[in-house]
Amino acid sequence: MTAFDASVEMRPKLVGQRVKRTEDPRLLAGSGRYVDDMAPKGLLHVAVLRSDQPHARIRSIHVGEAFTVPGVVAIFDAHDLAGDIRPAIPASRMKGYYATPFRPLAEGKVRYVGEPVVAVVAESRYAAEDALERISIDYAPLPFAGAKEEAAAGDAPLLHEEAGTNVIIARTFARGDVDAAIAHAAVVVKGRFRMTRKTPMPMECRSYLAEWDRRREALTLHSSTNIPGIICDVLGACLDLPGHRVRVVAPDVGGSFGGKGSLNHEEMLVCVLARKLERPVKFIADRMEDLTAMSQAFDETVEAELAVDGAGHLLGLKADVIGDIGAYSIYPWTGALEPVQVVSFLPGPYRMEHYRGRVRGVLTPKPPTGPYRGVGRPTSTFAMERLMDMAARNLGLDPAEIRRRNLVTAEEFPYRTGSGIIWDRSAFQDCLQGVCALVDYPALLRQRDAAHAEGRWVGIGLASYAELTGIGSRIAVAPGMPINTGTETATLRIDATGAVTAAFGISSHGQGLETTLAQVVADELGCRMDDIEIQHGDSALVPMGTGTYASRSAVLGGGAATKAARVVKAKVLKAAAFLMDVAVEDLEAEGGIIRARSSNATITFRDVAHAVYAQMGCIPHAQREDLVASESYDPYLGTACASTHLAMVEIDPATYAVSVTRFAVAEDCGRIINPLIVDGQVHGAVAQGIGAALLEEVVHDDTGQLLTASLADYLVPIATTMPEIEILHVEAELPDTIGGFRGMGEGGTIGAPAAIANAVADALAPLGIEVDTLPVTPERLFRLVAAARNATSD
């Protein structure tokens, strides 16, 4: 049997249907349970005093009259926790890397504005915040380099002296002779591209509640995390607790987009405090705290040169990437996650022999960068797709045509890129053609030309990309990271009532996995969807599970679910065959009923389960098996997921605001489990991509202070920002994964920024303007246009 089993395809039932979500009723009725909705007896609240300095030594901390505030229970700084908790070390096997220790509260010095320094524990959050105002910290400011280029210089002040440098990550990927390719190319285009710092901004702020069970001397952390298994393991190590005495539960989680996919200072803090005080301790970040101190994203500058021959074929690409990773290398992914992925994915979905990509990750006094939807690829795609358009313009080629000439074709799979990524079969070419057909590309070009003739700033932009999703054990999700991200486990159980419970190590936080995984299990097992409960988001459910991130849960969770369901189904049919006195091969199961093909005799799952568990001696012990199975799945290489985005924009010449007038996506995510959910993921990810292209920017000023600490300053897309998004699902030959699923939750953020940047550049092509920095805010556009007009008038 090959890894891909067609049996699901033979009897399609729920997979592929627009099944309404099982999560919805509770969330719609206000019956969801997020961390801040829990209030165990004796609950204490934490408020955190944060650094107002980007880099400073902590001379002394004055608690003053904070203890006199009614309701204040305790106040802690790092010294008070010494010996209670070890720092987390974000290890990696990368050469020359330094793993910055990560603690609940700053020890000795602070390294970014917003870093937690003092924790006040009180009977209410109101009281805890009152006490914060009475505490003062005496800092000795230290010199710092705020910009990554300055921080990378040899004489820059060091954030972590033990590292001996701020450049804690340096890697190069190379194939062929890119210098020769550039020297002999008909056309060379180059640019210096930058996506500024961004924050994930899920609607629910980070929320943690730790409970210490005195009887068992055990810790339970309720956390708005999407990696409960990883958090559980690291907390156990930091707090010196064995696995059976620490448990991390992610209840309903209000989005993450990567922002809740790493270890947080405050997550460690509530745990150590709950154990110390032997009472439940809760920390709920407010929006300012999340905008200030949640892990952030992007912040790379890419200097790149692309060599192309006279027919528009790509010859080689040379790139130097410098990433601002903030003050700490984030646990567990390390600061390499973002910048190294930029260099890994920069060659894009194209055939190109020569490549050299160099990357450095630099410590600066800002919050750490961490995972954010798309990781690295929004920036790599932005740079590469801009270069593609610049090359096309240089050669007088249509942007669609230059992509058609260079996208890897179906016959070339598997194709290894210059950085070493292997693209396996996916609809690279079909997505480009598909999106052009969907919008009637030639007609759209005529519309644009007519608008240009009227002097309007209207443009069209394309972006093609591919991503690796559902990655198995061959590649660590983050380079050199010693955590197994390549496997997921499903434990499936039928109890005496016939109810099916399927438990996973993944952790749904908006993706609707309770629905999609139930669809997969129902089809595979032959039971009713209503009989299935999907459990997830709890480190205690399966022996090993790392959570939901990197577009892996449908691929890995779906694969593990399928394997476990097959084992349980075999046990059910074996028991049914005994009870019905027919051959097991004669049986089929559907909708919770097992039927003998030869006689039409039936038995329900419920009756089989009852016989197995409750009717003593009904099935002889030697033949009786519990209806349970635990199976893991490792897709090894994972899957490629390809897409092309098309944007049409118009720029208002009075305000320089960009409106997105059309947006279309053609994407190949393999077999679709639930089209409703897939569409929703595309819409949401594209919205975030549009935000990255036009609005969203975290700004620190020269003194290291955050200027975008409210939602009035950090702008995200609202309903009036968004166009209707047109989607074409292209299903190429299915990947070699169980079920044929590809991961697809992140992609919209990858293509949209590049497509919009290209559309804006196209709109301003009459002025000869290139877009090299995102977001293209009205201010940036105004400056670009003013500079171009000045240059023309000189």
């Binding site: 719609l28 349970r33 609607m203 629910e204 989005g255 919205a687 609202i718 009036t720």
Partner: protein
Amino acid sequence: MTHAMTLTVNGLTYTGVVDARLLLSDFLRHELGLTGTHVGCEHGVCGACTILLDGRSARSCLTLAIQADGATIETVEGLGRMSDLGRVQQAFRDHHGLQCGFCTPGFLMTITDMLRHHSLDSDAEIREALSGNICRCTGYQHIVDAVRELARERGPLK
């Protein structure tokens, strides 16, 4: 400083004493246990905490509990139950208008108000009506679909 107050929430009357500075959002969530109302920004931008105050949508994070003395409040818990969803809730489910669900109660309350008081004749008007609520998951498209259907039920769109 504390004040005595009486208010009606989802048809039930509560009488008690509150701190002058207690936010209405915290009162609903932590004093009454109505945790369906969510807090997303506490500065009046995101709309997650939207409730109906005497029939009109209001930010419960920018309202003091004591300001609601004598008022009638509706929260998401009053729109319907899991087994018997209200019409706006059902339209959200039918159109997949929610993902993580955190902003959803605020949207449901805003839309309840908008359906009562605005014509919502075009998508542009619907999007304008939704523009005071942030959703980070859906890109708004399925929410617009749900509202379009709800608006159409009241009569044909122009």
